[in-house]
């Protein structure tokens, strides 16, 4: 038995084919209909009456006679039925009233839409309308952001939004005249995902299945930034960060959080020293990183201009292999060299001392590599050497963060961070001075920081009796840490601390092994801060990183 099985018409189908499909002609259909008196789905011209077309009786021939004579003319009306005759509502109603006696107004029969083109028109027009609305929304948003942000930054925020919308990983905010960059501007980058593979010209490849985690390339070069927003250090997906030609005074230790960083450029700023954490970034074994630091007004351990004070002959003699092979007495060799030099030429300048230490570090490094290769370990080497040269005198702080008076006055008037031979000479004496235990001040401050909302407490602080200025500043620092980048990390033991107990500058050689003499370009200063006096242990001469 044949059921009315013609499928619902797709709106794309052509109009002329329709009448032949009309199921009314079939006799079996008629019988069926008589039985169940139900209209089948296929009785309707289309699956639904959604494309709102319906018939409207013509109103011109209002008379009954006219109506009988002429074949009924139907007019297709586009749009929902309640809109019919909106323009000429008055006349329609009148004509309806006229015909009411004869015909009971509307026939009440809904005719499906036959005209598929009309429906698609409808769709297109509604889509256009939606787009227009969306455009309006966007315009509104931009207007509102214009009001809250200064001009250059509003532009930057728009660019960032654009990158997030398109899934663009290269965020180029360079040369925008930015003076300040707020957290809100960079925060949308957290939502950035790598666009999935969409190219139709290529066959699908492995790339299509790569993770959607982006590797953001953020360019902030050639602006006038003096500080970086804290949010920047939370964007751990940054792989390239360019801060070239800004007005930064220092680089935050939080830079170490960007552990996917492959390229960092801080050239052309006002940076005089680097955070200790950057040394760890420079020395991440196996990972190739390109970190451009110069030009910057970095401080120098001592005067490094001019030729090396050490005689050249000495140098080549030391580098001979048979001496290198003797692993144990490398330090002795260098000591002998030093003694020899002192005997021959008088006192050794700081410059000469640094050169000797560089040699020592190089020899120890080569020894280490030889041993490693003998043991069959695979080493991934940095192309540049990283060798400790010297440190400045350690500056000790009291528990509340005020500097301890220096016992020795050899640096009075001199440069604060000049290299010295005995960095811990000014260490406080007495029992417990080398303790690694945190101070009670630090413990209590940490407890205060974790248990109370210090932001609320700060305004009331002045009403408390007995809060000294150093205590107040310590509490302010603790409050700033909670809302900022968190507490600092001790560069010796890795513990977090609020109040540093000591700090000093360490100078490391960062350059090629082919470089024979020290130049100021190859020496980088790193500021180390530690949690306790016991942790104030500068690196030893000859220390190196591979």
């Amino acid at each position: 038995m044949s059921l009315p099985s013609s499928p619902p018409l797709l709106p794309e189908q052509d109009l002329p084919t329709l009448p032949t499909f009309a199921p009314i002609a079939s006799a079996s259909n008629a019988g069926l209909r008589a039985l169940n008196r139900k209209r089948q789905l296929s009785d309707y011209g289309s699956p639904s009456s959604d494309p709102p077309l319906f018939s409207d009786t013509t109103s011109d021939g209002g008379d009954a006679s006219h109506y009988e004579e002429q074949p009924r003319r139907k007019r297709l009306v586009r749009g929902p039925w309640w809109n019919v005759g909106k323009g000429r509502g008055q006349s329609l109603r009148r004509s309806m009233a006229k015909t009411e006696r004869l015909r009971n107004g509307d026939s009440g029969v809904w005719m499906g839409s036959d005209e598929s083109e009309a429906s698609s028109d409808c769709l297109i027009s509604s889509q256009q309308r939606m787009q227009e609305l969306a455009m309006q929304d966007m315009a509104d948003e931009e207007m509102s952001s214009d009001e809250t942000l200064p001009n250059a930054e509003a532009l930057a925020a728009r660019l960032v939004h654009g990158c997030v919308d398109k899934g663009k990983e290269v965020v180029d905010l360079s040369d925008r005249g930015l003076i300040h960059l707020s957290n809100a501007t960079l925060a949308p980058l957290h939502q950035l995902i790598r666009p999935s593979f969409v190219g139709v010209t290529h066959p699908p490849s492995e790339d299509e299945f790569s993770p959607l985690t982006p590797s953001i390339q953020l360019f902030l070069s050639r602006n006038q930034l003096t500080a970086l927003p804290l949010e920047l250090f939370n964007l751990t997906n940054i792989s390239v960060l360019s801060l070239r030609n800004n007005d930064l005074q220092h680089l935050s230790p939080a830079i170490a959080r960007l552990n996917k960083l492959k390229e960092l450029n801080i050239a052309g700023n006002n940076i005089s020293y680097l955070p200790w954490e950057l040394l760890e970034l420079l020395d991440r074994r196996g990972k190739h990183r390109q970190i451009t630091v110069r030009p910057n007004p970095l401080i120098e351990p001592c005067d490094l201009s001019g030729p090396s004070p050490l005689p050249k002959a000495n140098f080549t003699r030391v580098m001979q292999t048979e001496e290198l092979a003797r692993c144990t007495d490398t330090r002795d060799t260098v000591n002998n060299l030093r003694c020899k030099y002192v005997a021959e030429q008088g006192t050794l300048s700081m410059r000469g001392e640094l050169e000797l230490r560089l040699k020592l570090g190089r020899m120890l490094r080569i020894q280490y590599l030889q041993e490693a290769s003998k043991a069959g370990r695979e080493l991934k080497l940095c192309r540049e050497e990283l060798i400790y040269l010297a440190s400045s005198a350690v500056q000790y702080f009291r528990g509340d963060g005020t500097p301890l008076r220096r016992t020795g006055s050899q640096h009075a008037g001199g440069e604060e961070f000049a290299a010295c031979l005995d960095p811990t000479a000014t260490a406080p004496s007495g029992s417990g001075s080398a303790s690694t235990a945190p101070s009670l001040f630090e413990l209590a401050l940490h407890s205060l920081q974790t248990n109370f909302n210090l932001q609320d407490f700060l305004p009331k602080m002045s009403t408390f009796p007995g809060i000294s200025s150093s205590l107040a500043s310590a509490i302010r620092l603790a409050a700033a840490n909670t809302h900022g980048l968190g507490n600092e990390t001790c560069s010796t033991c890795g513990k977090h601390f609020i109040i540093a107990r000591a700090e000093w500058m360490e100078y490391w050689f960062h350059g090629w092994s082919s470089q024979r003499e020290l130049t100021s370009e190859a020496v980088l200063p790193f500021l180390r801060r530690v949690c306790s006096w016991g942790c104030a242990r500068p690196s030893e001469a000859g220390e190196f990183r591979c």
Binding site: R398, G430, S431, T436, A437, L440, F441, L445, S447, F464
Partner: protein, 100 residues
């Protein structure tokens, strides 16, 4: 009477007295100066310090810290000392005063 004893007495505002090792108490520069036998302070004579600003419960924590510090002087992984929440501001001021 000015002999240097092994233990010193710390007395709080509300009259609680704590007897602690001199070596432990000397980590506070303030107490060290007070108890210095070569100095002329009255505290050095009696080996007793009266801390006018400190309530007993705070001084108790301070004494606990003296021993905590003594114990963990050279330790590698120093455990955190437990600081009661309600005392931390007072302890902060006490440690600021004692410079520890």
């Amino acid at each position: 009477m000015a002999s240097e004893t092994d233990y010193v007495t710390l007395i709080s505002k509300d009259g609680f007295s704590y007897v602690v090792q001199r070596s432990s108490a000397r980590i506070s520069p303030v107490l060290k100066r007070m108890l210095d036998p070569t100095g002329a302070f009255l505290e050095a004579k009696d080996n007793t310090c009266i801390l006018q600003d400190m309530p007993g419960i705070v001084l108790e924590k301070v004494c606990e810290y003296f021993y905590y510090n003594e114990k963990n002087k050279d330790a590698r992984d120093v455990p955190e000392m437990d600081i009661p929440t309600e005392l931390c501001l007072e302890l902060l001021m006490a440690s600021d005063y004692l410079d520890i």
